[in-house]
């Protein structure tokens, strides 16, 4: 009897479990899937598709260990002031926010997710089938296509209707066109050979080929999950894109956006360790038919020849955690920033070797860099995050490759702007307090800060118009406008409204290669 009862109860439990299991297990999986989808649709474009971080910190079980779920929930609700993190109150329900916090605190950083050449190929979208139907000149009034300034508008939420590339006529300061980019636009690059094409990359690694004459997207391709790396070859035939997620880069046919070759980014870092690497800057140069790409974690710069098979020359031991770079000397010298070593490494692209490592303040982020010719010297300007107490902008003599001066500024900086016809080098102060509203101006001759502009918002990414007469600055985060100044009088003369504007890219860059150089210097170099 006892046995029977026991048997009975066991079988009841078994059958109950059998009944419950198929119900509860998928419910849990559904939940995880739902949270993963929420993450991808709201967070991943900034925090990384692999939960490992991109322009914002990684969100995973390791990085969020020990953090109070209540505190995390309130950050998601209200956003994080003085950063790009927007308030999700009203966009996500309280249950969704609670679910996300739990999901993030239990999800490890994902292994390098795959995005293969076939995935890239399959992602191509064609918006204009026959490019011969496009107008053969701009459909709007503009004297010179170099007067176009493109602004990467992030949009408040890093996605949605505010995310676009906005194009402005830098003589009239009026918007002449815009293209929607789905997620935050990050980089705008121009075809140096054909003035009509621009390439816009967003934070989810999609590249849009834009016809500047008709202001529309012609084609698009998704080259990865996250990563800003983008370059155009000097003949306009190739573009190269690099990703943080996954760790690869790809060369595309600029005409069709068809992928031609992918590169797995890995190598031996300066400490002798074999590492898989994020892609840092990618740059084409007027000097040769090559791309240079920085492997952030591997500390290497690869030079890819644009010929059969796209062979690679690897330059090792460039620095620890490379990021961005700029060109000088007709594009034959490349200055690469190394975060961890706080140096900028000068590379000779002709010899394909390191020339010298130069002091660069503290965590150098050179943005697009600036090079100016003053009193017979070629001076390079480098900004740096300045996370330590050394708040300076570095000035190097690029002929002798030595430090000329470390100019004291009021905080960390991210991007310098210069122009041959403008008297000042503008640097954006990014320190997270009221200083973030400001841009400081360094006199090219005295190499001292002579003026501080209170721009508003989080002011960053200054850029001069192609003629050098105007200085454009993004009043980003909650400033929501691009502000235009007269570059000599420094009077504010215009404002163009948009959501969270960030990088500003003058079409004039194709003419002077690096901001601050004159087009004549470029001709002389060729």
């Amino acid at each position: 009897m006892k046995t029977t009862k026991k048997l009975l109860s066991t079988s009841v439990i078994t059958s109950l479990t059998a009944l419950l299991l198929p119900l509860s297990a998928p419910a849990k999986a559904d939940d995880a899937q739902k949270m993963h989808k929420l993450y991808e649709e709201n967070c991943a474009s900034c925090h990384g598709s692999d939960h490992g971080g991109f322009i914002a910190p990684g969100l995973n079980s390791e990085s969020l260990k020990g953090r109070s779920p209540t505190a995390l929930r309130s950050i998601i609700m209200t956003g994080s002031f003085d950063t790009l993190m927007p308030p999700f109150y009203g966009r996500l329900s309280d249950d969704e926010i609670r679910g996300l916090v739990k999901h993030l605190q239990t999800t490890p950083k994902m292994a390098n997710p795959a995005w293969t050449i076939d995935d890239i190929k399959a992602s191509i979208k064609v918006y204009v089938k026959d490019e011969s139907t496009l107008p053969d000149k701009p459909t709007y009034q503009i004297d010179d296509i170099n007067n176009i300034i493109g602004v990467a508008a992030r949009g408040k939420y890093g996605r949605g209707s505010g995310s676009k590339a906005v194009f402005i006529n830098s003589v009239t300061h009026k918007q002449i066109g815009e293209v929607a980019t789905g997620t935050a636009a990050h980089i705008i690059d121009y075809d140096p050979a054909n003035p009509r094409w621009a390439y816009v990359k967003n934070d989810t690694a999609e590249i849009f080929k834009v016809d500047l004459y008709s202001m529309q997207i012609v084609r698009s391709v998704k080259t990865g999950f996250n990563g800003p790396g983008l370059g155009v070859s000097r003949d306009g035939k190739y573009i190269m894109a690099g990703s943080y997620v996954p760790h690869n880069a790809v060369i595309l046919d600029a005409k069709t956006l068809e992928p031609l070759k992918t590169f797995e980014l890995e190598g031996i870092d300066p400490d002798g360790k074999m590492v898989s690497s994020d892609s840092g800057m990618i740059i084409g140069t007027p000097f040769a038919d090559i791309f240079a790409i920085a492997l952030e974690n591997a500390g290497q710069v690869w030079v890819v020849d644009l010929k059969e098979g796209f062979p690679v020359t690897k330059i090792e031991n460039v620095g620890r955690h490379l990021h961005d770079a700029f060109l000088s000397h007709g594009g034959s010298k490349l200055m690469v920033a190394s975060y961890v070593d706080s140096i900028v490494t000068a590379i000779d692209l002709k010899e394909r070797k390191i020339i010298k490592k130069l002091e660069a303040g503290c965590v150098p982020h050179v943005g697009g860099g600036s090079v100016v010719e003053v009193d017979g010297r070629t001076l390079g300007f480098g900004t740096n995050f300045g996370d330590c107490d050394k708040m300076v902008v570095s000035v190097w003599d690029l002929d002798k490759m030595e430090v000329v001066k470390q100019v004291p500024v009021s905080g960390g900086t991210e991007s310098p702007a210069a122009h041959a016809n403008a008297p000042y080098v503008a640097v954006d102060i990014i320190s997270k307090d009221r200083r973030a509203r400001t841009v400081q101006l360094i006199d090219k001759k005295s190499l001292e800060v002579v003026k501080t502009l209170d721009v508003g918002g989080h002011a960053y990414f200054p850029e001069y118009s192609a003629d050098g007469k105007f200085l454009y600055i993004s009043a980003g985060y909650s400033g929501d406008e691009v502000v235009v100044y007269d570059s000599t009088s420094l009077e504010k003369i215009a404002s163009i409204a948009m959501e969270s504007p960030a990088g500003i890219f003058s079409h004039g860059r194709v003419k002077y290669m690096t901001r601050g150089l004159s087009p004549d210097e470029m001709k002389g170099a060729k």
Binding site: M77, F81, Y157, S161, G456, G457
Partner: protein
């Protein structure tokens, strides 16, 4: 007579802390830039944001709304928390700043 002048001045003084003319739009701007604009923007919030624009709204309305959020007579978790620490001056300054902006 003296008393009337005095009380008149007092009245004026009392009124002034609550009038748009006496409020400091500079202090209001600083507060708006640091706090309110995070959701409401300065001139306009995001097209995708579920938050109302504040630029150009009626001063008295903005002031009343903030007071009600602060005193929790108007309920909203987020706004009750944010307005909870505002002084009368803060409220007047912020309301004056946003009321004076062209949307």
């Amino acid at each position: 007579m003296k008393l009337r002048v005095l009380s008149g001045a007092l009245m004026l003084g009392l009124l002034s802390t609550h009038s748009i003319n006496a409020a400091s739009i500079y202090a209001g701007q600083a507060r708006a830039a640091a706090v309110c604009s995070q959701c409401h923007g300065i001139k306009t919030p995001s097209a995708d944001a579920p938050f109302p624009p504040l630029a150009g709204r009626d001063f008295a309305y903005l002031k009343l709304a903030l007071e009600q959020y602060r005193d929790k007579t108007r309920k909203n978790d987020l706004m009750n928390a944010i307005a909870g620490s505002l002084s009368d001056d803060d409220i007047a300054n912020v309301a004056a700043y946003y009321a004076g902006l062209k949307p």
